[in-house]
Symmetry: C2
Subunit: 419 residues, 2 copies
């Protein structure tokens, strides 16, 4: 299968882009070649598909189900009771809806941690996106739960292996310091190295979390994790709001990957705000994630870029911090680096994960600066065409099977909360 995108705006110039299989084979002013499919790029810009580096995709089912509540009340009375009734089928349909939403807003890759992840994997397999998937791992310091989580993790990794789909890889998903014991975190570290897997973790999301850790282990989370040997360059740490300078230095020594989740952090009132400048000044790679739809409430990476750049300026009182270009890279290039994927840029030899942006929309004009328009003015609906792994998943904003997904996912969501 080959694909030719004609006459598209790429980094300020009109270009042809030629894709063979899943790889960008050529980029030039004019490419004379016969392709199986030709896409007219007129009035469109080509950008790398977004990488959503931290989410819980199936939580689309809980979109709008309990907002504006105290965190504890929200979890205890809304999310946990509903999650207790989850099945793999629910997760499958919730993820189908999430994938549809991501396709329609320009995301080609996501990094997910949730329950019943076989359902997620099946949905991703069908929808054509790229994903790193981790079964949530929690033991609550109980031996039986620990054993179950280890079993589930091993089983899930085998399942992903057996799918043999180069778009889908497994990671390990230890939830957080307050929900996973030291022994299990050490098991995760060892298992991840033996099997060459990423680890997807929540770190220092709230000050309460830091307090729990201090009371329990006499140390801040990052110090504790270093002590028990958990840190490493395959660790993806989401949130990282409550880090101090010393924490950042330690994380940088291990080249831990950081995911910033601005909308979720603000909506859940985690207090304080992500120290982007401090974290970047130590050379850490920072990517961007929406978190799940229960706390955001969508998966639109355009919106997430704007929230990141604008809120950083607001909280840190510096209008020059986190420029549009830097934010755009967090959502693309740095996300791909975080997940170890050969994408995030449109270059020869990279994976063909490409979004085509409709430039003839009022919010995209005038084009004094495309990247600025993408970060500060666009939204997901500006995406006209989405290509992932060389496959066209959306063209002219149409996605195959859309209606069925919308219907089934909503039925499942209503059924779930009234079960």
């Amino acid at each position: 299968m080959s694909l030719l995108i004609r006459n598209v705006m790429l980094n300020g110039m009109k270009r042809d882009i030629y894709v063979e299989g899943n790889i960008i084979e050529d980029i030039d002013e004019r490419i004379k070649i016969r392709a199986d499919k030709v896409i007219d790029g007129k009035n469109k810009a080509a950008i790398p598909g977004f990488v959503n580096a931290h989410t819980h995709a199936a939580m689309t089912l809980f979109r709008g189900y309990g907002d504006d509540m105290e965190l504890h009340e929200w979890l205890q009375n809304k999310i946990w009771p509903a999650e207790a009734k989850l099945t793999e089928k629910d997760v499958y349909w919730g993820t189908k809806l999430a994938c549809l939403e991501m396709i329609k807003s320009g995301t080609t890759t996501f990094n997910d941690q949730y329950w019943f992840m076989k359902g997620t994997a099946r949905a991703v397999n069908e929808m054509g996106l790229r994903a790193v998937l981790a079964e949530a791992f929690i033991d609550l310091f109980q031996r039986e739960m620990a054993e179950k989580s280890i079993r589930n993790t091993k089983r899930f990794v085998r399942f992903i292996d057996s799918m043999n789909n180069d778009r889908i890889s497994a990671a390990i998903g230890p939830h957080a310091i307050y929900s996973v014991s030291k022994e299990c975190l050490q098991w995760v570290r060892e298992f991840s190295e033996k099997n060459n897997l990423l680890i997807h973790f929540h770190l220092s999301e709230t000050n309460e979390e830091n307090g729990i850790c201090k009371r329990k282990y006499g140390k801040r989370p990052v110090e504790y994790l270093e002590e028990i040997g958990f840190l490493g360059d395959n660790l993806i740490a989401a949130h990282c709001v409550w880090l101090n300078k010393r924490d950042i230095k330690i994380l940088s020594r291990y080249n831990v990957k950081i995911v910033h989740n601005p909308t979720s952090n603000m909506k859940l009132s985690v207090g304080g705000f992500f120290d982007y400048k401090g974290i970047r000044s130590e050379g850490l790679i920072v990517s961007l994630g929406t978190d799940g739809c229960a706390s955001n409430n969508n998966l639109d990476m355009f919106e997430e870029m704007k929230f990141a750049a604008v809120a950083q300026k607001g909280f840190k009182n510096d209008p020059t911090i986190m420029s549009a270009l830097e934010t755009f890279k967090m959502a693309t290039e740095y996300g791909a680096k975080t997940l170890g994927i050969n994408a995030g840029k449109i270059e020869i030899g990279k994976l063909a994960d490409i979004a085509l942006i409709d430039l003839k929309r009022p919010e995209m004009l005038p084009m004094h600066n495309l990247v600025s328009n993408l970060v500060y003015s666009a939204n997901g609906s500006c995406v006209d065409t989405l290509i992932c792994n060389g496959e066209v998943l959306m063209e002219n904003r149409k996605v195959e099977g859309e209606e069925e997904i919308l219907e089934k996912a909503e039925d499942i969501a209503f059924n779930l909360i009234s079960r």
Copy 2:
């Protein structure tokens, strides 16, 4: 001209809405009447059109022209030199683009302050929106400029009168405390009362502004404005970030109308954040505005609602503050109250300013809570149909003359900055 919207979701129920002229004449389960035009409301929700209570519409021309800069550098090297070359024709085309963008994102009314506002008025007249328009009034404490501003204001008010368009009304636009003298502010107050006009003003946007006022007048801005007799219930004060408890009490005594501009405030790093709880607890009416596209960079009121509600929670460390419903009212009902317009709600006897929302989109499902989805998940592209003053301005996302506006406005913008 009459209009019947059939079978649309309204406040959780399926309803028909009947419009005659510019008024909602009937709302019922099933309305048996012949109408000039019938719109199928299936899979759509009817909501009041948004009221953007503070903007500078023609600044669409500067979208993305200078972001991520220090405020002073940005004004001095980018915005002011470009504005110095502005003509009425530029403002006309910039506003045409703004109106197009507002129509496509569900706004039916806006409150504008800028230069060459005749151009704005002509654009609004053609585009079919509702607007309150004020020529910017600045004297920089110089007598000649004061006289010119008074002349321009009088002339503009007469011009709007002569248009005799019930969608368009004039206001007075004194810029701010640091750019308008005491004498002129007093003239504005008097002129506004004599002619029954609203006043559109920037108030306590930054701490620097408060400092300037203290040094110059020995008082905080609100105290100073009270002393000189400037406060009143026809005053619309944008920003209001740097108010203390005493300021808020004073403003509430005069029933001053407050406009919150969260995205602009954060992007320009005004420091601190809007004290929504304190302001509401004194019973003040708070509406929502995008500010101009140079500091936002779009006019999407969905996005503005999300920024308001989410950032308030983040800055004030309280997830229950500014609920989705309250935020939605700020963007509709309270905006209409602020401008003294009989709209902002879909009820019999109200002006027919209505947006129809496409409910069959992934970000709008599941519909556990429509208002939550509107505030936290939707964006402007969810609007399928827009009706203002009983006229259909957009149907199925198509607006008449769209292509020409996009082309002309971009040409004008490029021409302006290279003039």
